[in-house]
Symmetry: C2
Subunit: 366 residues, 2 copies
């Protein structure tokens, strides 16, 4: 087992990475002094696999739990689902000393975190991410929230979990498409902060795709380390934390205009990162060779690297980007790369240049 | 004009109390460095009176505003209204540098504050309370939120305003019933923290009821001072802040079981405070003479001091109290008075004793 600490003063917490960690949940919660009652929030795809084991572990530690099941998929990340969770928490009389457990992927984690941040003005929560994407990204850092029709994550809060348990066994049963989508965030960490790690991913991609346990464990822990370091320096995104949004401005807009249905988050930000690399080469001097390495690694991971848009869709993309949280003073700001491993945030990009990047339709090499 | 400072480090802010302050809004927002775009959230009863003046003041300072109008009354304090506000903010492209203004009573303030706390993970907001209750209580201290069917304020956040402007002119047009409801919170400050102030209220009640401007100004400012002092010591209700909930455990339950329709908040907590005084006399040695002074002052203010409950209602009251945020480890905790001006929080009260207090049906003297 690997332990990564997120250093946030009295809100510090550990991310534990290893096989079989789900069964240690009850002991961990007791060690942290969490209450004796909790709700496990999961979705109808994940709950049948793991909810029983999770609740048994809690029960053995003397913690009473109730299971709240929501729909699977990005469309469940809505205020309607939040309302339904609140009502069930109230019905089961969860109080301030109770806590909530997120058991699932990024959608369940973001949604559950927001419920925990706002129910009774905030109660503790624990993340049990069961997808690669959630383990390396969304379960760490305390950004929680839901979508509006107008855009992704437009409603939310900062609410740090008390603990993150990344059970690597859950990756074994992950659908292929979900695994690949998770790789989009993994690759991001290489681009924004660690060229050696990026090169390792280029080399070890086949091992990751066949879910080699040792490689997976090392890679997940390294991603969490990078994220913890960034979040530790800028918890509430005053500045630096924005680098984590590399590829997300366009990615979020793509998700919004397709009503969160067509693309998984990882797929949308794969396209977004390839476009951002293209913009980086044109505006920030990223060597074209690096831009191509970036595109190729996403393509080799089986992720989409380009998108064909109608004129109407293109208009909606710009409208959606305008609503992104990274807009400031009416200007869309991008995170761009100087080289692999080094990015800058707050970069202005002329609209004509974004249009150009959207047109970058060269089919990627396999 | 009187200025009360709420001392909360980098989240400190001023409460300004005086006649005609609404027209200074634009200048104040500029002075605070707030953005150039905002939404004014108000209800359909208050907006026709003051929205135009508020927006003119903003316009003169070069701040663009959009008006969002919600229904009036406690039932508007719901997630449904929150969703509608989010959608309108997104539609008008409010971004992170934008801000929100709450123009109205406690419902508008709590609702708007919650929208501000969660839209784009939090944007600044300003309180323009137009009722006595909102000026002395709900606009100060950063507790924001909405109700669930199961109970009052069960969903929310701590999000401090950047400024509170209490324009005393708005009290002139306040309906009689709203004025009296506001007095319930005013009297509370005397009970929990200032016996001299309580005695002044006994003496000056007629002046308050006829809305004497000088008396109103002094009383509003004193209430804000007491609240600012308590909040400054315990922003997130770790302990002391609970004293502000004197009379609220039963009060909130009464509001919940009547579906937030029958009682104004001030009326419900009037009944709650009279019951708490009764419990205080029985359990904490509050002199019966003081309990009667408390009851009489509420009655002289034209507020209800007792409630006739059916057996079924009584059962629902206990169920609602069990869900109150002040419940901890399954036990309902009360704030009780040792004497007028001194209270204790976290007091355990046996259920039989609560039953007795609910039966305390002596009609109050006028």
């Amino acid at each position: 087992m690997r332990i990564v600490s997120v250093p946030l003063g009295h809100r510090s917490y550990d991310i534990k990475v290893g096989p079989g960690l789900l069964t240690t949940l009850g002991t961990e919660c007791t060690r942290l002094g969490l209450g004796r009652r909790c709700a496990v929030i999961s979705d109808h795809l994940v709950a049948p696999h793991y909810a029983a084991a999770v609740r048994t572990s809690l029960e053995r530690a003397g913690i009473e739990s109730v299971l709240v099941t929501v729909d699977a998929g990005e469309t469940a990340k809505s205020l309607k689902t939040v309302q339904s969770c609140y009502d069930q928490l109230a019905e089961h009389r969860l109080e301030r000393q109770s806590f909530v457990i997120a058991l699932g992927g990024g959608v369940v984690g973001d949604l559950t975190g927001f419920v925990a941040a706002t129910y009774l003005r905030g109660i503790p929560f624990v993340q049990l991410p069961t997808t690669l994407l959630a383990q390396v990204d969304s379960s760490v850092g305390g950004k929680v929230g839901v979508n509006l029709k107008a855009g992704k994550n437009l409603v939310g809060a900062f609410h740090q979990p008390r603990l993150v348990l990344c059970d690597l066994n859950t990756i074994k049963t992950l659908p292929e498409r979900e695994l690949r989508a998770g790789l989009a965030e993994v690759i991001k960490y290489g681009i924004i902060s660690d060229a050696v790690f990026f090169a390792r991913l280029e080399r070890d991609l086949p091992k990751l795709l066949r879910r080699d346990p040792k490689t997976l464990g090392e890679v997940v822990a390294r991603c969490c380390e990078i994220k913890a370091e960034v979040v530790g320096q800028d918890e509430n995104e005053g500045g630096l934390r924005a680098v984590l949004n590399f590829g997300h401005t366009l990615g979020h807009a793509l998700e919004a205009i397709s009503s969160y249905g067509k693309y998984l988050h990882g797929e949308a930000i794969s396209i977004g990162q390839v476009a951002a690399a293209e913009l980086s080469a044109r505006l920030l001097g990223l060597p074209w060779n690096d831009a191509v390495r970036i595109r190729d690694l996403f393509a080799r991971s089986g992720l989409p690297v380009a998108v064909k848009l109608t004129r109407a869709q293109r208009k909606r993309i710009f409208s959606a980007m305008q609503l992104d949280k990274k807009v400031s003073g009416g200007e869309i700001k991008f995170v761009l790369a100087k080289k692999i491993g080094t990015v800058e945030f707050g970069c202005r990009v002329p609209r004509s240049m974004i249009e150009l990047a959207l047109d970058f339709q060269v089919p990627a090499a396999k």
